[in-house]
Symmetry: C2
């Protein structure tokens, strides 16, 4: 039968009557809370098809999802948005654990920011079970909550040797989750990692898939990754578990963005050939190319030793980190063996120490690899240094001109592009609005004038405040990017009567310039703050910029913080520059609300430059990342030219420091002055953090205390009387 | 001018043009997000009036509020509901701190559960500033978030000697907040407690105002509390700060409910006369009548010594606790002086030890007081014991027949009643639906049949499950009272694939009977639970009853709890009886999410009787109340006839106990058996907890460890081999 379906009841009836060759067509419109079970058996020549009246005009919203069960089923043209799945999967190739779909296909479907509002509530967008299934030309963008975007599961026999094919999908921007569980594609789990999977992943486009440090997590045998493009993705294609993977012809374009990586090799019999990387800046497990150490007699969920790896004809241009024997430690002591690296190019005229060798590399046979002349070879034989000439190929990539030694990658005609992946009828443009990209609105002093202006603003708008005093009796909800600044050279003063002046809610970002925040009218209660995040989960990351501002009189009662964040919120960047914080009973900012200690934290980048903190009872900064997980990048801290004058001395300062850091991955603290203040406390664990503490003056103050077992550099700590004006 | 107003703009225009005698009338309908500023000056004979087209048909909803400023203003007939104030006050007698309202009146207004969704975000419903104002015949019911319901503020000179009058208001049910900040009426603050206030509070009806242990918190000089009725209110009328208070003619009806109290005396020159209490069961600071010790040279925010107190002609019938020198400790060492207790009646044939004397009472002169014969007098003179005869007065109160000694209270004709307070046009009925008060719905086994039945249920409904297996792929949101039980004698089995089976959301309560909860199909992740509260704030209290149930196979991964609660949620009761908990990797229940340690906790009553806990990695119970605040009642724990077999031994059990208690106020643990388990840990602090640990058997287990500085009783601890079948 055919005909247009208008309700879930009609759909169920059509499905139960469906014969091979039938086409079930969903009517245009919004399908709210539609849980579709598409169960049936077509034939190879006559599948049963679920399609839509017009592509792009049928959306499944609210708590909708789709399950497939049976064989020779085709689904095309569905769009999931404005909601999230009520179960743990949006599109599932199973009805229940015993009833899977085989020989079926999902094509030209869209899943767009279909996110559980709970950031750390896990779900999966596309879960592939069964065999001989194809997932192609789909558009998956903006997963904001925890859970792998697409997964191939191997829990039962029926899913082994599956010949599944994942191709020509557009994996759009996935923001940094700040936690494990942000992978874009995973095949298998550690538990089933010895299973022969035989899935082919080819010609997919990964566009800024930045959820965590595994873009792809391979966890089974005999999979193929071919002709995929990774555009500005942080992390790597990781052969986490399982042997005999073929990784060939993939392209990694870093554009010099931090934490962009390439390929990470673990386990036995891995082949990595003909891949190309450019401008990849990631370090350690996020390197352009990484070969890890294994664990002797590793349990399933740890690291198997690298053996029989064949790594040849790969090209890495202007990539910063090639990491060999990475992760070497007391547990991961099994070095790579019986492996070869042949005909590869490592070319980076701007960086001499591209290679880091963490352990014995005698188990890797190096042959005929080519280096830029500035790079020092890591073994006597197997490397040649020379200048290269480049040309730009049809994909816009910088490629060495043909070499007589046959080094480097030759790319395929089947390479993914933004155009040949996903669907033509759904835009791939960026959705996010930038701060200060909107119109400018002038605001006059008075009661709640700022509140009203903020409430009426549009995303990206700039509120320019005239000279004077602004009193707010209400909390300003910042639900979109908003900039507030002084119109003139004089700083306006903002007073407020609620517990918080600003609440950054989901989707919000805030930039403040040239303003004075005065807490004199705050309620006489504990726990006030000038800026707070939502108390609820935020599944969108936010940004906070503060420049040339003053925060003062935050002391009507104890525990008054300048900025307060909550659990299940995550900032891409918190930047505070050229600002003064004076007379504060609590902390300037404590980024320590992820207390489960499973590798989650509250902000990726924290930047504090040229600030003065004076008479602050609590800490100027607490930054916490607990747990042993190694899946994330940050947090990163840059602290430069700050003055701490009588900071941290209140009895309630539980950190016992002016700056208290726990598990921070990159620490750069230099040119700061501490007077009559608590010092810097650092607990250094996990992930080989990069720690540089340089040129700081601790006068009449505690200085630096370090715990944990990682390396660090402290140089030029002084104790000279500072001359404040 | 006159005429009906249809918008806030019209209102603003009418207000700006208003002349003495004008009446501004709001049109019938819902006023959404209406922030009304009613500013003007009427005259004594010709006030400006804000009224409504028809009483009960004008509601202010969303984020609405009202400010008054000027003089001789009258507001009548407004109803605030379905929302909460965007500022810190709903009705405020000020425009800003310099512009107050005087000679003004709020009458016949209603505020009904107009609560911020954030339980601990504070606000006030009626804030009285200025002088000669009257607040009368209002109906205020169901405040669920933190903050005093009505407050008289004395921040400026203009509010001193204010002659404000608060009368004939109906203060409806206020649920237990489980925290300080749940007062129903407060006059002054500690900071302004030496101010002469002169507010009269008379003929108000307080109906189960149970927010915290201060129903009224008097914090200034020279106020009068007269002819008010307190019906089943937990807590007391407390003279917290300020002298020269007159408390007379008030009636306290406890109906033998726990924690119901009467009057608490602190500070100098307090007069307490002619008050009547019956059936009051509260203990310590919640006693029927309490005289506290003070702090020598007390700071403003602590306890001034009681001196010159005149306590006469009060009647206490069937009240359990008269507390003298209450709170006596190292800090509160100043005993009452120069005080008298005369002509009072303390009559309770069922309790002999009605009086508790914590310190030296020689500073109180006892004269002509009357006791029931069973009660032992606390001083040689001043007490006479005799049997009394009673009659029922026109208010339905049990009153001693006229006595020749003139002891006891004589009540006024102006006493508040439920009828003569509040408004006639708004119902005073209870709103809450009870568990199991609805219809019965039979549910058959299958995929998501229980989910669907729960989703379609109405408040109070009972789902009866037929024999069989119920698999849920979705989490059941419990947003109203819901009962789920077995239809037959055999227990149905419930399996579930999401992180939690049940989520109790705001407004929900859950009763489970005769069911098996099997975690075998739970996702292989950490942190599952069978039952969870909302992760978000709940401003309504919930109840959870579990009877004759089994919880099993909760161990797919670590940290799987049977029940998990979140911060900013509060249970009136969690009761678990005749149930089995077997093979659980996490805790049965950890009520420890209020980590700010400011006297907040997660459940008032916890009852565990006749349960078996076996192979539980974490604790069977953690119950935490941190901080030094003394404003609340619980938590209360009753644990009887439970078996603990291999409980608490997982390395992740951070409590290092099977039962871990911190700051619990009443602990009753008896007749339990512990085998190969961690023991009972108790930290006893704050509030003179009542602790009885009797007849427990600890075999091959840790037993009881106690820290803290409070008294407790442990008797009959055994260590005998148990005979389990
Ligand atoms: Ca991962
Ligand atoms: Ca209180």
């Amino acid at each position: 039968s055919s005909g247009i379906i208008n309700s879930v009841d009609e759909f169920n009836e059509a499905v139960s009557n469906a014969q091979p060759g039938d086409v079930i067509t969903l009517a245009n419109g919004v399908w709210e809370n539609a849980e579709l079970l598409f169960e049936g058996n077509g034939t190879e020549d006559n599948p049963i098809t679920l399609t839509v009246e017009e592509k792009g005009k049928v959306t499944l919203e609210g708590n909708s999802n789709l399950r497939l069960a049976g064989s020779y089923l085709v689904v095309e043209g569905l769009v999931f948005k404005n909601g999230f799945t009520p179960t743990t999967e949006v599109i599932s190739f199973k009805k229940d654990k015993n009833t899977l779909a085989n020989h079926s296909r999902i094509t030209e479907c869209v899943i767009d920011r279909y996110n559980n509002p709970e950031r750390h509530e896990p779900d999966t967008w596309v879960a592939v079970y069964g065999n001989n299934n194809r997932v192609d030309h789909n558009h998956l963008v903006g997963k904001g909550n925890r859970g792998v975007t697409m997964i191939v599961r191997l829990n039962t026999k029926e899913s082994e040797k599956n010949n599944n094919r994942i191709d020509h999908n557009y994996f759009g921007h996935r923001p940094n989750l700040g936690s494990n569980g942000g992978e874009t594609l995973r095949i298998g789990t550690s538990h089933y990692s010895l299973v022969n999977s035989m899935t082919v992943v080819e010609s997919n486009y990964f566009d800024r898939c930045n959820g965590e440090h595994e873009i792809i997590s391979n966890k089974s045998y005999n999979n193929v990754y071919r002709d995929n493009v990774f555009y500005e993705c942080t992390g790597t294609l990781t052969m986490r578990h399982g042997n005999e993977t073929l990784v060939e012809g993939n392209v990694f374009i870093g554009n010099n963005k931090p934490s962009t990586g390439g390929i990470r090799v673990i386990n036995g019999q891995q082949t990595v050939r003909n891949n190309y990387g450019v401008g990849l800046k990631g370090y350690r497990f996020r390197g352009a190319f990484v070969v890890m150490n294994g664990v002797p007699n590793s349990p399933l969920n740890r690291y198997f030793q690298v053996e029989d790896a064949e790594i040849h004809n790969n090209t890495f241009i202007e990539c910063d980190h090639i990491q060999l024997c990475a992760g070497s430690d007391a547990e991961r002591s099994a070095v790579p063996i019986n492996s070869s690296m042949t005909n590869n190019i490592f070319y980076n005229p701007d960086k001499n120490d591209v290679f880091t060798v963490y352990d014995d590399i005698s188990g890797i046979d190096f042959k005929n690899n080519l280096l830029s002349p500035n790079i020092s070879a890591i073994s006597e034989n197997g490397f040649t240094a020379r200048e290269l000439e480049f040309e730009v190929n049809k994909y816009g990539l910088k490629i060495p001109k043909k070499l007589e030694g046959n080094q480097g990658a030759v790319l395929s005609d089947k390479l993914a592009t933004k155009e040949n992946t996903g669907v033509s009828w759904y835009p791939k443009d960026d959705i996010e609005v930038e701060l200060s990209s909107g119109k400018t609105i002038v605001v006059s002093p008075g009661l709640n004038t700022l509140f009203d202006a903020a409430k009426n603003s549009k995303p990206g708008d700039i509120l320019e405040l005239e000279n004077g005093t602004y009193t707010q009796t209400k909390t300003l909800a910042v639900g979109h990017p908003l900039t507030i600044k002084s119109k003139n050279s004089q700083k306006p003063t903002i007073l407020f009567e609620k517990k918080s002046l600003f609440e950054i809610s989901n989707g919000g970002s805030l930039s403040l310039e040239d303003l004075i925040f005065d807490g004199a009218e705050s309620p006489d209660r504990t726990g006030n703050s000038v800026i707070t995040t939502s108390k609820y989960s935020m599944n969108k990351n936010y940004k906070l910029f503060i420049e040339d501002c003053e925060f003062t009189n935050l002391d009507v009662n104890h525990s008054y913080d300048a900025i307060r964040v909550y659990k299940n919120t995550f900032a891409d960047t918190i930047s505070i520059k050229n600002s003064k914080f004076k007379t504060i009973s609590g902390n300037v900012i404590a980024l320590d609300k992820e207390t489960d200690d499973i590798g989650i934290y509250n902000s990726e980048y924290v930047i504090m430059k040229n600030n003065v903190f004076s008479h602050v009872g609590g800490a100027a900064l607490r930054l916490h990342r607990g747990g042993k997980d190694e899946s994330t990048f940050g947090p990163f801290l840059e602290m430069d030219h700050c003055v701490f004058d009588n900071v941290g001395n209140d009895k309630r300062n539980k950190y016992d420091a002016s700056v208290s850091l726990y598990g921070v991955q990159v620490i750069d603290i230099k040119n700061n002055i501490f007077n009559a203040s608590k010092g810097v406390g650092m607990h250094l664990v996990v992930g080989e953090p990069i720690v540089n503490i340089l040129n700081n003056n601790f006068f009449n103050s505690a200085s630096i205390s370090v715990t944990g077992d990682e390396k660090y550099t402290i140089r030029n700590s002084w104790s000279l009387p500072p001359a404040f004006d």
